[in-house]
């Protein structure tokens, strides 16, 4: 029930700069996700919000209160640590009850709420176990329960579901979202699971090497990445180096070096990101947008190729098509049973739909 405002935050460890000049405004009750490669500064940022690190430069505000150096226990945030940080000398119940005991809640009320949350994370039978006797995923759920049970103003979740199986993860996601909406808890979420990020978040910030690349809603981030880093990092994509080659009425032409030919792209802001003259350009096309077909297909941007590999991933099937010795593209189709898979080595036609291509600049370093 707070906004979180980070302005011009920099954090250095000795000579290492973990976070650089970060500006973020997270709205009240928002579910906000940090995405980014390993070591890009997500945990560090979270810890500055929680109060375990003080920024080297910059200000942290909750609502309008400056919190930069307020000690952690006065911030009423609930955090799930990347390494869980469970209290080894306590049982599961005691771990979860800790925050309530601190808040001087009555015995019965504590018991009720702890049992309640343990049921939600499917650990009600484990209440009396020592935490060292739990499996990895069970420990992670204890950490989650411990942060949820205090119904904090701000919830900080550092990869809270990374050790859970898909089904349980679904349930936990639903539970977190339910609580979050119910109590309007401002939530900052760190995850490496893109589906998780895309389905749960109100907004997402994409980090790279301590810098924020883009902030936006999931569809914005996915469909309208501002640069090739975001395009490539979120979801699968085929990235091809291109250069401008002409302007049509409703479309633009780009020359694709690796294909040795031109590609037509709709001239909308959805298909062409903002860029300047000096930028190197990339063409990004998602595998699921690519049509791969054994028969010649009608339309623009059709190129022949040869199936190199067919990869089964459950719901989807990836088809790797070799266009020439310099270029392979991936297409994705839904899994409609083994009979529909293309054969490796088959000659195919690949279409890059002009309305689903996006031209982005190369990210600065």
């Amino acid at each position: 029930m707070s906004t979180v405002h980070l302005s011009a935050i920099t954090k250095q460890f000795g000579k290492v700069t973990a976070v650089e000049d970060l500006d973020l405004l997270i709205k009240e009750g928002e579910f906000f996700t940090f995405l980014g490669p390993s070591g890009c500064g997500k945990t560090t940022t979270l810890r500055m919000v929680a109060g375990f690190y003080y920024p080297t430069k910059g200000v942290v505000k909750f609502n309008d209160r400056v919190m930069t150096t307020v000690p952690p226990e006065k911030r009423n945030t609930g955090m799930v640590f990347q390494n869980y940080a469970l209290f080894p000398h306590m049982t599961v119940f005691e771990n979860v009850a800790f925050g309530l005991k601190v808040r001087k809640m009555s015995k019965e009320e504590t018991k009720k709420r702890v049992e309640d949350v343990l049921r939600k994370v499917r650990l009600d039978q484990y209440a009396e176990r020592q935490v060292s006797q739990l499996s990895g995923g069970q420990q992670q759920r204890v950490a989650l329960a411990r942060a949820l049970v205090i119904e904090p103003d701000i919830l900080l979740l550092d990869e809270p579901l990374s050790n859970l199986d898909a089904r349980l993860r679904d349930e936990m996601r639903a539970e977190i979202l339910r609580l979050q909406k119910e109590y309007k808890i401002t939530t900052i979420y760190v995850t490496h699971d893109q589906v998780e990020a895309l389905t749960m978040s109100d907004r997402i910030a994409v980090f790279n090497s301590g810098k924020c690349q883009q902030v936006g809603t999931p569809t914005e981030i996915y469909n309208e990445p501002v640069n090739d880093f975001v395009a490539e990092f979120i979801g699968e994509t085929n990235l091809l180096g291109v250069s401008e080659a002409g302007l049509g009425e409703n479309h633009r032409l780009y020359h694709v070096g690796a294909l040795g030919s031109k590609v037509k792209v709709n001239n909308t802001s959805l298909n062409v990101a903002g860029y300047t003259e000096n930028d190197e350009l990339r063409l990004s096309v998602r595998p699921e947008a690519i049509e791969v077909s054994a028969q010649p297909v009608a339309g623009e941007n059709v190129f022949p190729g040869k199936v190199k590999l067919v990869q089964f991933t459950g719901a989807a099937v990836h088809t790797y098509v070799e266009m020439n010795d310099r270029l392979t593209v991936v297409g994705t189709a839904l899994n409609q049973g083994p009979s529909t898979y293309l054969k490796e080595g088959a000659e195919v036609y690949v279409r890059l739909p002009e309305d689903q291509i996006r031209i982005v600049p190369k990210a600065g370093v």
Binding site: N76, N83, Y84, S132
Partner: protein
């Protein structure tokens, strides 16, 4: 301004620590240092000139002897204490708990009678060498202890518990999956131990090495009783004092402290080079399993064997206490046993008074070191502030100085009213002894607590704070329970030592607070070795009971965290 809250907290923590250390450690120590710069009452460097000049031969030799004896004592204590701790804590086998309790019994042995028991046991006229001689029909005793070997053996025997206890508590905090990772990478048991376990126990070793090094630098009874002519610094101090040269004694004390402190700094540096916080993800305290029956029985045999050796001096003490006066003089073996010594002892009307005194004073002092030690150690390990090294030195000084010097310091500092004694003259009152014990044994608790705190991952504390716990609450409910094994082992050591403390007691006791050790000493002085031994047995029994109770009731809680 940036680190306000953090700094304020550190400050709040530091103020009492610094105050107490200044009042009861620094101030008395400075008094002594000041004394060393007086010559016949006039300020000068004469004493130091003497030390390195006219008296250099003896002094430097004593210094050198002290240093290498101490280093060897550290080595030997480690050689005994570490494997024992490892075996008794790592492997589950019948009688493990019993053995692990026995393992700290050496520390129960009252120092003076203890060393004498050693001589009765292993000396040239001792029971064991003569028994072997008679059994094998040798013409000479096969071995005997005495001189340097004697000092080292006695040191190793009485000091290895420092290693044993700190190692044991550090082991209990060790993440076992680290060892598993090592053996998974192909390291055999030996390598796992040397390359992973051993380095990770560094905080524990550092603590123990410091304690042993300093205590043997200052050790008195062993060199004195076993090698009367052998020159070590602690004896030099004693003799200077006996010869009435208090200023020289002070000078020698200062030198001794400097060496000890140098060692402290060295160890700190050594430890500081690496990181020992086990910050791995989740909690990996799975206990390794041993099913090999061969190994199991080897362990049991080893255990039994070790226990016998460890308890022989106690047994000797028991024998001595059962031999009536005058029946074991020139005879190789005692022939008559009865309870006469005990009867004579219990006939004295005030027999329980010293026992009660010792207990009360030890309890008071231990309560003090327990509480104060935890806070001090926490400040030292988990807080950053300027002058941390200095504080650490201050904490260790009482341990680095020979006990007699501490006693002298206290006399000098508190035989006139000053603010730290609340305007009272403390010398000659009941409180001076508990205070002395408190000061002397504080380093024990601080060291052993440091060792476990070093291993504690910070994020545990952070988690508690994040859940809204104030610092103190976190400290009480999270930090303390986790470090309890370390704190308890330190406090237990302190208690045991306080009950038997002699060198400062003898300087400071009064009619109203005469402790056991003084009583033993008095019996010895009257050549009543039997009654002294009987008194010693009472002390042993007393401490054993306390240890048993604490391991029963406090140990249970501490062990819970081991999973």
């Amino acid at each position: 301004m940036m680190l306000n809250a953090e700094k304020r907290r550190t400050l709040v923590l530091l103020i009492p620590v610094v105050l107490i250390l200044t009042g009861y450690v620094l101030y008395p120590t400075l008094r002594t240092a000041y004394e060393s710069f007086l010559h016949n009452g006039v300020p000068s460097f004469q004493n130091y000139e003497d030390f390195f000049g006219s008296k250099a031969k003896a002094n430097l030799q004593a210094l050198w002897n002290s240093v290498w004896i101490s280093l060897l004592s550290v080595l030997f204590s480690a050689l005994i204490g570490v494997p024992l701790a490892y075996i008794f804590n790592r492997y589950e086998f019948p009688g493990r708990r019993f053995f692990s309790n026995i393992a700290i019994m050496p520390i129960v042995l009252p120092s003076l009678v203890g060393v004498m028991a050693f001589m009765f046991l292993y000396g040239e006229a001792g029971l064991i060498p003569n028994a072997i001689k008679d059994l094998l029909n040798l013409s000479e005793v096969p071995f005997k202890i005495g001189g340097i070997s004697g000092i080292l053996i006695v040191h190793a025997y009485t000091m290895y518990p420092y290693f044993y206890m700190t190692t044991a508590s550090a082991l209990s905090n060790l993440d076992l999956s680290l060892e598993e990772a090592a053996s998974n990478l192909g390291a055999n048991r030996f390598k796992v131990f040397w390359q992973v376990t051993f380095p990770l126990l560094t905080p524990g070793f550092v603590a123990a090495s410091l304690l042993v090094f300093m205590v043997s630098m200052a050790s008195f009874s062993a060199p004195f009783l076993l090698a009367g002519g052998f020159r070590v610094l602690s004896l030099q101090i004693y003799f200077s004092k006996i010869n009435g040269d208090l200023e020289m004694a002070a000078t020698q004390s200062v030198i001794l402290s400097i060496v000890s402190i140098a060692f402290l700094l060295f160890m700190r540096w050594y430890q500081g080079r690496k990181d020992y916080r086990m910050a791995s993800k989740g909690i990996g305290a799975h206990r390794s399993e041993v099913n090999n029956p061969m190994l199991k029985w080897t362990m049991v045999t080893l255990g039994v064997f070790a226990v016998i050796i460890l308890l022989l001096p106690h047994a000797t003490l028991l024998i001595l206490s059962l031999v009536p006066e005058g029946t074991w003089t020139w005879q190789t073996y005692p022939a008559v046993f009865n309870l006469e010594n005990y009867k004579m002892l219990f006939d004295t009307p005030y027999i329980w008074e010293p026992v009660r005194n010792s207990l009360i004073m030890a309890v008071i002092a231990c309560f003090g070191v327990f509480v104060f030690g935890i806070f001090t150690s926490y400040a030292l390990v988990k807080r950053n502030f300027i002058g941390k090294n200095l504080l650490d030195i201050l904490v260790m000084i009482p341990w680095a100085l020979p006990a007699t010097v501490i006693g002298m310091n206290l006399i000098l500092a508190f035989n006139s009213p000053n603010p730290f004694s609340f305007g009272q003259i403390l010398v000659g009152t009941f409180w001076i002894l508990p205070l002395a014990y408190f000061i002397r044994f504080l380093p024990l608790v601080v060291r052993s607590t440091n060792a476990v705190l070093e291993q504690l991952d910070d994020s545990i504390e952070e988690a508690a704070q994040n859940l809204g716990a104030k610092w103190f609450y976190t400290f009480r409910k999270v930090v303390i329970p986790i470090i309890m094994p370390g704190v308890l082992s330190g406090t237990l050591l302190a208690f045991v030592q306080a009950v038997g403390e002699f060198p400062t007691s003898v300087l400071l006791y009064t009619i109203g607070n005469r402790p056991i050790s003084i009583e033993i000493m008095n019996q010895l002085r009257m050549f009543n070795i039997g009654q002294a031994a009987a008194y010693g047995m009472i002390q042993v029994a007393l401490i054993a009971v306390v240890m048993f109770i604490s391991s029963r009731f406090l140990g249970v809680k501490a062990e819970k965290s081991l999973g």
